[in-house]
Symmetry: C2
Amino acid sequence: MNTASASASTDGSGGSGSSGGSGGPRWLSDEEQRTWRAFMHATTLLEDHLDRQLQRDAGMPHIYYGLLVQLVEAPRRRLRMTELAMRAKITRSRLSHAVARLEKNGWVRREDCPSDKRGQFAVLTDEGYGVLERVAPGHVAAVRQALFDRLTPEQQKALGEAMLVIAEGLQPEGAGADLPWLR
Amino acid sequence: MNTASASASTDGSGGSGSSGGSGGPRWLSDEEQRTWRAFMHATTLLEDHLDRQLQRDAGMPHIYYGLLVQLVEAPRRRLRMTELAMRAKITRSRLSHAVARLEKNGWVRREDCPSDKRGQFAVLTDEGYGVLERVAPGHVAAVRQALFDRLTPEQQKALGEAMLVIAEGLQPEGAGADLPWLR
DNA sequence: TCGTATTGCTTGAAGTATCAAGTTCCCTGT
DNA sequence: ACAGGGAACTTGATACTTCAAGCAATACGA
Protein backbone atom coordinates (compact mmCIF):
# COMPACT_ATOMS: atom_id res chain seq x y z
CA MET A 1 0.00 0.00 0.00
CA ASN A 2 1.20 3.43 -0.90
CA THR A 3 -0.02 5.90 1.60
CA ALA A 4 1.44 9.25 0.74
CA SER A 5 4.59 9.14 2.74
CA ALA A 6 4.70 5.41 2.86
CA SER A 7 6.68 3.16 0.62
CA ALA A 8 4.99 0.17 -0.80
CA SER A 9 4.68 -2.84 1.37
CA THR A 10 1.28 -4.35 1.03
CA ASP A 11 -0.21 -3.54 -2.31
CA GLY A 12 0.25 -5.83 -5.23
CA SER A 13 1.23 -3.16 -7.68
CA GLY A 14 4.74 -2.83 -6.42
CA GLY A 15 4.95 0.58 -4.95
CA SER A 16 5.73 3.19 -7.49
CA GLY A 17 4.07 4.18 -10.71
CA SER A 18 0.38 4.36 -11.24
CA SER A 19 -1.97 1.55 -10.46
CA GLY A 20 -3.83 -0.54 -12.94
CA GLY A 21 -7.22 0.64 -14.06
CA SER A 22 -8.44 3.96 -15.23
CA GLY A 23 -9.81 5.30 -11.96
CA GLY A 24 -7.30 3.89 -9.49
CA PRO A 25 -5.46 6.27 -7.21
CA ARG A 26 -2.24 7.67 -8.56
CA TRP A 27 0.21 6.66 -5.89
CA LEU A 28 3.37 8.61 -5.32
CA SER A 29 6.50 7.49 -7.10
CA ASP A 30 9.53 6.64 -5.01
CA GLU A 31 11.01 9.98 -5.89
CA GLU A 32 7.85 11.79 -4.91
CA GLN A 33 7.72 9.90 -1.67
CA ARG A 34 11.22 10.94 -0.78
CA THR A 35 10.32 14.52 -1.49
CA TRP A 36 7.15 14.34 0.52
CA ARG A 37 8.85 12.79 3.50
CA ALA A 38 11.66 15.28 3.45
CA PHE A 39 9.01 17.97 3.35
CA MET A 40 7.15 16.64 6.34
CA HIS A 41 10.23 15.95 8.39
CA ALA A 42 11.70 19.35 7.74
CA THR A 43 8.51 21.22 8.51
CA THR A 44 7.75 19.17 11.61
CA LEU A 45 11.23 19.52 13.01
CA LEU A 46 11.43 23.19 12.20
CA GLU A 47 8.07 24.06 13.73
CA ASP A 48 9.01 22.15 16.87
CA HIS A 49 12.36 23.82 16.97
CA LEU A 50 10.97 27.33 16.69
CA ASP A 51 8.16 26.61 19.10
CA ARG A 52 10.61 25.51 21.73
CA GLN A 53 12.92 28.40 21.05
CA LEU A 54 10.16 30.93 21.49
CA GLN A 55 8.54 29.14 24.39
CA ARG A 56 11.86 29.25 26.16
CA ASP A 57 12.86 32.81 25.27
CA ALA A 58 9.48 34.51 25.14
CA GLY A 59 7.04 32.25 26.90
CA MET A 60 4.78 31.87 23.90
CA PRO A 61 4.36 29.57 20.94
CA HIS A 62 5.55 30.47 17.49
CA ILE A 63 2.14 31.39 16.19
CA TYR A 64 1.50 33.86 19.00
CA TYR A 65 4.76 35.52 18.19
CA GLY A 66 3.56 35.74 14.62
CA LEU A 67 0.51 37.63 15.78
CA LEU A 68 2.61 40.22 17.53
CA VAL A 69 4.71 40.56 14.41
CA GLN A 70 1.64 41.23 12.30
CA LEU A 71 0.55 43.88 14.72
CA VAL A 72 3.87 45.67 14.89
CA GLU A 73 3.86 45.99 11.13
CA ALA A 74 0.37 47.37 10.93
CA PRO A 75 -0.42 51.07 10.95
CA ARG A 76 -0.91 52.28 14.51
CA ARG A 77 0.05 48.78 15.60
CA ARG A 78 -3.51 47.56 15.33
CA LEU A 79 -5.56 45.26 13.19
CA ARG A 80 -9.15 44.14 13.06
CA MET A 81 -9.56 40.61 14.36
CA THR A 82 -10.64 39.19 11.04
CA GLU A 83 -7.82 40.89 9.21
CA LEU A 84 -5.32 39.57 11.70
CA ALA A 85 -6.73 36.08 11.41
CA MET A 86 -6.41 36.20 7.65
CA ARG A 87 -2.87 37.42 7.71
CA ALA A 88 -1.84 34.83 10.26
CA LYS A 89 -3.73 32.10 8.43
CA ILE A 90 -5.72 30.99 11.42
CA THR A 91 -9.41 30.79 12.26
CA ARG A 92 -11.22 33.59 14.02
CA SER A 93 -11.95 31.25 16.86
CA ARG A 94 -8.34 30.40 17.39
CA LEU A 95 -7.48 34.05 17.26
CA SER A 96 -10.04 34.92 19.90
CA HIS A 97 -8.50 32.46 22.30
CA ALA A 98 -5.00 33.54 21.41
CA VAL A 99 -5.68 37.22 21.88
CA ALA A 100 -7.31 36.48 25.20
CA ARG A 101 -4.08 34.91 26.29
CA LEU A 102 -1.90 37.67 24.92
CA GLU A 103 -4.15 40.17 26.61
CA LYS A 104 -3.63 38.41 29.90
CA ASN A 105 0.10 38.82 29.34
CA GLY A 106 -0.36 42.50 28.73
CA TRP A 107 1.11 42.30 25.25
CA VAL A 108 -2.06 43.03 23.37
CA ARG A 109 -5.11 45.09 24.15
CA ARG A 110 -8.55 45.00 22.56
CA GLU A 111 -10.23 48.12 21.35
CA ASP A 112 -13.69 48.69 19.99
CA CYS A 113 -14.07 49.69 16.40
CA PRO A 114 -15.85 53.03 16.18
CA SER A 115 -17.31 52.46 12.75
CA ASP A 116 -18.58 48.94 13.33
CA LYS A 117 -19.83 48.01 16.73
CA ARG A 118 -19.27 44.34 16.08
CA GLY A 119 -15.65 44.98 15.30
CA GLN A 120 -12.64 44.72 17.54
CA PHE A 121 -9.11 45.88 17.10
CA ALA A 122 -6.20 43.96 18.50
CA VAL A 123 -3.60 46.52 19.52
CA LEU A 124 0.01 45.84 20.36
CA THR A 125 0.88 47.38 23.71
CA ASP A 126 4.20 48.92 24.59
CA GLU A 127 4.98 45.85 26.62
CA GLY A 128 4.17 43.73 23.63
CA TYR A 129 6.52 45.83 21.58
CA GLY A 130 9.17 45.39 24.22
CA VAL A 131 8.88 41.64 24.12
CA LEU A 132 9.24 41.67 20.38
CA GLU A 133 12.27 43.89 20.59
CA ARG A 134 13.86 41.63 23.13
CA VAL A 135 13.06 38.37 21.42
CA ALA A 136 13.28 39.07 17.72
CA PRO A 137 17.08 38.81 17.42
CA GLY A 138 17.14 35.34 18.87
CA HIS A 139 14.31 34.25 16.70
CA VAL A 140 15.87 35.57 13.53
CA ALA A 141 19.05 33.81 14.49
CA ALA A 142 17.20 30.55 14.92
CA VAL A 143 15.53 30.86 11.55
CA ARG A 144 18.77 31.76 9.91
CA GLN A 145 20.63 28.90 11.47
CA ALA A 146 18.00 26.35 10.59
CA LEU A 147 17.23 27.56 7.12
CA PHE A 148 19.21 30.25 5.40
CA ASP A 149 22.64 29.35 6.65
CA ARG A 150 22.24 25.89 5.18
CA LEU A 151 20.91 26.68 1.74
CA THR A 152 22.63 28.21 -1.25
CA PRO A 153 21.06 31.35 -2.70
CA GLU A 154 19.74 29.26 -5.60
CA GLN A 155 18.17 26.80 -3.22
CA GLN A 156 16.60 29.62 -1.27
CA LYS A 157 15.17 31.06 -4.43
CA ALA A 158 13.80 27.73 -5.60
CA LEU A 159 12.37 27.01 -2.17
CA GLY A 160 10.66 30.36 -2.00
CA GLU A 161 9.11 29.95 -5.40
CA ALA A 162 7.85 26.46 -4.72
CA MET A 163 6.37 27.52 -1.41
CA LEU A 164 4.66 30.45 -3.02
CA VAL A 165 2.99 28.18 -5.54
CA ILE A 166 1.82 25.82 -2.83
CA ALA A 167 0.51 28.61 -0.65
CA GLU A 168 -1.37 30.18 -3.52
CA GLY A 169 -2.96 26.90 -4.41
CA LEU A 170 -4.33 26.52 -0.92
CA GLN A 171 -5.50 30.06 -0.30
CA PRO A 172 -8.83 31.91 -0.50
CA GLU A 173 -11.76 31.99 -2.86
CA GLY A 174 -15.24 30.64 -2.31
CA ALA A 175 -17.22 31.15 0.85
CA GLY A 176 -17.39 28.85 3.76
CA ALA A 177 -18.15 28.43 7.41
CA ASP A 178 -15.32 29.80 9.43
CA LEU A 179 -12.40 29.78 7.06
CA PRO A 180 -13.56 31.32 3.81
CA TRP A 181 -10.01 31.91 2.80
CA LEU A 182 -8.98 28.34 3.41
CA ARG A 183 -11.26 26.70 0.92
CA MET B 1 12.21 46.08 13.60
CA ASN B 2 12.90 43.01 11.58
CA THR B 3 11.40 40.05 13.25
CA ALA B 4 11.96 37.05 11.01
CA SER B 5 8.86 37.18 8.96
CA ALA B 6 8.32 40.83 9.49
CA SER B 7 9.29 43.63 7.23
CA ALA B 8 10.90 46.63 8.71
CA SER B 9 8.71 49.19 10.31
CA THR B 10 10.18 50.38 13.52
CA ASP B 11 13.92 50.04 13.47
CA GLY B 12 16.10 52.80 12.25
CA SER B 13 18.26 50.68 10.04
CA GLY B 14 15.76 50.45 7.29
CA GLY B 15 14.74 46.86 7.11
CA SER B 16 17.09 44.86 4.98
CA GLY B 17 20.77 44.31 5.12
CA SER B 18 22.74 43.79 8.27
CA SER B 19 22.63 46.06 11.22
CA GLY B 20 25.35 48.30 12.41
CA GLY B 21 27.88 46.94 14.84
CA SER B 22 29.80 43.72 14.91
CA GLY B 23 27.52 41.72 17.18
CA GLY B 24 24.13 43.00 16.06
CA PRO B 25 21.58 40.52 14.83
CA ARG B 26 21.72 39.75 11.14
CA TRP B 27 18.20 40.59 10.07
CA LEU B 28 16.63 38.93 7.09
CA SER B 29 16.88 40.68 3.76
CA ASP B 30 13.68 41.50 1.93
CA GLU B 31 14.26 38.56 -0.31
CA GLU B 32 14.81 36.25 2.64
CA GLN B 33 11.71 37.55 4.29
CA ARG B 34 9.62 36.78 1.27
CA THR B 35 11.01 33.29 1.24
CA TRP B 36 10.43 32.76 4.90
CA ARG B 37 6.87 33.99 4.73
CA ALA B 38 6.06 31.85 1.75
CA PHE B 39 7.52 28.96 3.67
CA MET B 40 5.38 29.54 6.72
CA HIS B 41 2.23 30.22 4.80
CA ALA B 42 2.59 27.17 2.64
CA THR B 43 3.36 24.85 5.52
CA THR B 44 0.62 26.25 7.72
CA LEU B 45 -2.00 26.07 5.03
CA LEU B 46 -0.94 22.61 3.94
CA GLU B 47 -0.91 21.15 7.41
CA ASP B 48 -4.34 22.59 8.07
CA HIS B 49 -5.60 21.31 4.78
CA LEU B 50 -4.39 17.77 5.37
CA ASP B 51 -5.56 17.77 8.95
CA ARG B 52 -9.05 18.68 7.88
CA GLN B 53 -9.03 16.23 5.06
CA LEU B 54 -8.06 13.37 7.33
CA GLN B 55 -10.25 14.45 10.17
CA ARG B 56 -13.16 14.42 7.80
CA ASP B 57 -12.37 11.19 5.98
CA ALA B 58 -10.71 9.17 8.70
CA GLY B 59 -11.61 10.83 11.98
CA MET B 60 -8.02 11.46 12.96
CA PRO B 61 -5.41 14.16 12.62
CA HIS B 62 -2.61 13.95 10.10
CA ILE B 63 0.01 12.91 12.57
CA TYR B 64 -2.04 9.96 13.80
CA TYR B 65 -2.40 8.83 10.26
CA GLY B 66 1.35 9.04 9.96
CA LEU B 67 1.71 6.68 12.88
CA LEU B 68 -0.44 4.07 11.20
CA VAL B 69 1.62 4.48 8.06
CA GLN B 70 4.83 3.85 9.94
CA LEU B 71 3.34 0.72 11.43
CA VAL B 72 2.07 -0.70 8.17
CA GLU B 73 5.54 -0.39 6.72
CA ALA B 74 7.25 -2.09 9.61
CA PRO B 75 7.95 -5.81 9.75
CA ARG B 76 5.04 -7.65 11.34
CA ARG B 77 3.29 -4.29 11.45
CA ARG B 78 4.78 -3.43 14.79
CA LEU B 79 7.30 -1.03 16.23
CA ARG B 80 8.70 -0.30 19.64
CA MET B 81 7.28 2.91 21.05
CA THR B 82 10.58 4.73 21.04
CA GLU B 83 11.34 3.66 17.51
CA LEU B 84 7.94 4.81 16.36
CA ALA B 85 8.37 8.13 18.10
CA MET B 86 11.69 8.65 16.39
CA ARG B 87 10.38 7.82 12.96
CA ALA B 88 7.36 10.06 13.39
CA LYS B 89 9.49 12.84 14.86
CA ILE B 90 7.41 13.23 17.99
CA THR B 91 8.07 12.89 21.70
CA ARG B 92 7.48 9.67 23.56
CA SER B 93 4.93 11.42 25.67
CA ARG B 94 2.92 12.56 22.73
CA LEU B 95 3.10 9.09 21.30
CA SER B 96 1.81 7.52 24.50
CA HIS B 97 -1.27 9.71 24.38
CA ALA B 98 -1.72 9.17 20.68
CA VAL B 99 -1.47 5.41 20.90
CA ALA B 100 -3.94 5.42 23.76
CA ARG B 101 -6.39 7.12 21.46
CA LEU B 102 -5.68 4.87 18.49
CA GLU B 103 -6.05 1.89 20.78
CA LYS B 104 -9.45 3.14 21.83
CA ASN B 105 -10.37 3.25 18.16
CA GLY B 106 -9.24 -0.31 17.75
CA TRP B 107 -6.65 0.61 15.13
CA VAL B 108 -3.59 -0.14 17.20
CA ARG B 109 -2.90 -2.61 19.96
CA ARG B 110 -0.13 -2.61 22.54
CA GLU B 111 1.99 -5.67 23.12
CA ASP B 112 4.65 -6.35 25.69
CA CYS B 113 8.18 -6.81 24.52
CA PRO B 114 9.43 -10.25 25.54
CA SER B 115 13.09 -9.32 25.69
CA ASP B 116 12.71 -6.10 27.64
CA LYS B 117 9.96 -5.91 30.16
CA ARG B 118 9.91 -2.13 30.03
CA GLY B 119 9.28 -2.21 26.32
CA GLN B 120 6.04 -1.98 24.43
CA PHE B 121 5.18 -2.65 20.86
CA ALA B 122 2.56 -0.69 19.02
CA VAL B 123 0.89 -3.08 16.61
CA LEU B 124 -1.37 -2.17 13.73
CA THR B 125 -4.60 -4.14 13.94
CA ASP B 126 -6.55 -5.44 10.98
CA GLU B 127 -9.04 -2.69 11.53
CA GLY B 128 -6.24 -0.20 11.49
CA TYR B 129 -5.05 -1.66 8.26
CA GLY B 130 -8.55 -1.40 6.88
CA VAL B 131 -8.76 2.27 7.72
CA LEU B 132 -5.48 2.90 5.98
CA GLU B 133 -6.64 1.02 2.93
CA ARG B 134 -9.83 2.98 2.80
CA VAL B 135 -8.33 6.39 3.42
CA ALA B 136 -4.96 6.33 1.71
CA PRO B 137 -6.21 7.04 -1.81
CA GLY B 138 -7.95 10.21 -0.76
CA HIS B 139 -4.96 11.34 1.20
CA VAL B 140 -2.55 10.74 -1.64
CA ALA B 141 -4.88 12.66 -3.90
CA ALA B 142 -4.91 15.57 -1.50
CA VAL B 143 -1.14 15.66 -1.31
CA ARG B 144 -0.84 15.40 -5.03
CA GLN B 145 -3.31 18.13 -5.66
CA ALA B 146 -1.75 20.52 -3.18
CA LEU B 147 1.85 19.83 -3.99
CA PHE B 148 2.95 17.69 -6.91
CA ASP B 149 0.33 18.75 -9.39
CA ARG B 150 1.43 22.34 -9.00
CA LEU B 151 5.18 22.00 -9.23
CA THR B 152 7.38 21.19 -12.17
CA PRO B 153 9.68 18.19 -11.81
CA GLU B 154 12.59 20.57 -11.38
CA GLN B 155 10.79 22.41 -8.64
CA GLN B 156 9.97 19.15 -6.94
CA LYS B 157 13.59 18.12 -7.06
CA ALA B 158 14.80 21.41 -5.67
CA LEU B 159 12.17 21.38 -2.98
CA GLY B 160 13.07 17.87 -1.92
CA GLU B 161 16.74 18.70 -1.72
CA ALA B 162 16.23 21.85 0.27
CA MET B 163 13.93 20.10 2.69
CA LEU B 164 16.40 17.31 3.16
CA VAL B 165 19.10 19.76 4.11
CA ILE B 166 16.83 21.49 6.58
CA ALA B 167 15.68 18.25 8.15
CA GLU B 168 19.22 16.99 8.50
CA GLY B 169 20.29 20.18 10.17
CA LEU B 170 17.63 19.80 12.80
CA GLN B 171 17.91 16.10 13.51
CA PRO B 172 19.66 13.95 16.13
CA GLU B 173 22.99 13.93 17.91
CA GLY B 174 23.70 14.81 21.48
CA ALA B 175 21.64 13.61 24.39
CA GLY B 176 18.79 15.41 26.01
CA ALA B 177 15.71 15.14 28.14
CA ASP B 178 12.86 13.75 26.13
CA LEU B 179 13.89 14.46 22.60
CA PRO B 180 17.47 13.36 22.23
CA TRP B 181 17.06 13.27 18.50
CA LEU B 182 15.76 16.78 18.33
CA ARG B 183 18.74 18.54 19.77
C1' DT C 1 25.30 -8.34 44.53
C1' DC C 2 24.62 -4.35 45.56
C1' DG C 3 23.98 0.72 44.29
C1' DT C 4 23.44 4.05 41.00
C1' DA C 5 22.59 5.86 36.58
C1' DT C 6 20.08 5.21 32.50
C1' DT C 7 16.45 3.67 29.53
C1' DG C 8 11.54 2.90 28.20
C1' DC C 9 7.38 4.29 28.78
C1' DT C 10 3.29 6.48 31.24
C1' DT C 11 0.71 9.88 33.81
C1' DG C 12 -1.59 14.26 35.17
C1' DA C 13 -2.00 18.99 34.79
C1' DA C 14 -1.92 23.03 32.21
C1' DG C 15 -1.96 25.15 27.71
C1' DT C 16 -3.67 25.35 23.08
C1' DA C 17 -6.75 23.93 18.98
C1' DT C 18 -11.01 22.77 16.86
C1' DC C 19 -15.81 22.57 16.20
C1' DA C 20 -20.40 23.90 16.74
C1' DA C 21 -23.29 27.23 18.61
C1' DG C 22 -24.44 31.65 20.13
C1' DT C 23 -24.71 36.96 20.29
C1' DT C 24 -24.71 41.31 18.46
C1' DC C 25 -24.69 44.25 14.78
C1' DC C 26 -24.79 45.57 9.77
C1' DC C 27 -26.92 45.56 5.19
C1' DT C 28 -30.30 44.90 1.74
C1' DG C 29 -34.74 44.98 -0.15
C1' DT C 30 -39.32 46.07 0.46
C1' DA D 1 -39.33 50.83 9.27
C1' DC D 2 -38.40 46.28 9.49
C1' DA D 3 -37.56 41.35 8.27
C1' DG D 4 -34.10 38.31 6.75
C1' DG D 5 -29.61 37.11 5.92
C1' DG D 6 -25.01 37.65 6.56
C1' DA D 7 -20.77 39.31 9.00
C1' DA D 8 -17.74 39.90 13.21
C1' DC D 9 -16.52 38.00 17.01
C1' DT D 10 -16.93 34.98 21.31
C1' DT D 11 -17.88 31.02 24.00
C1' DG D 12 -17.76 26.27 25.85
C1' DA D 13 -16.91 21.52 25.23
C1' DT D 14 -13.88 18.24 23.67
C1' DA D 15 -9.50 16.78 21.66
C1' DC D 16 -4.75 17.21 21.39
C1' DT D 17 0.08 18.78 22.90
C1' DT D 18 3.50 19.85 26.17
C1' DC D 19 5.99 19.71 30.31
C1' DA D 20 7.53 17.87 34.42
C1' DA D 21 7.38 13.99 37.24
C1' DG D 22 7.05 9.38 38.06
C1' DC D 23 7.63 4.15 37.93
C1' DA D 24 9.72 -0.06 36.65
C1' DA D 25 13.38 -2.52 34.45
C1' DT D 26 18.02 -2.77 32.67
C1' DA D 27 23.02 -1.76 32.48
C1' DC D 28 27.09 -1.13 34.68
C1' DG D 29 30.73 -0.32 37.98
C1' DA D 30 32.44 -1.41 42.44
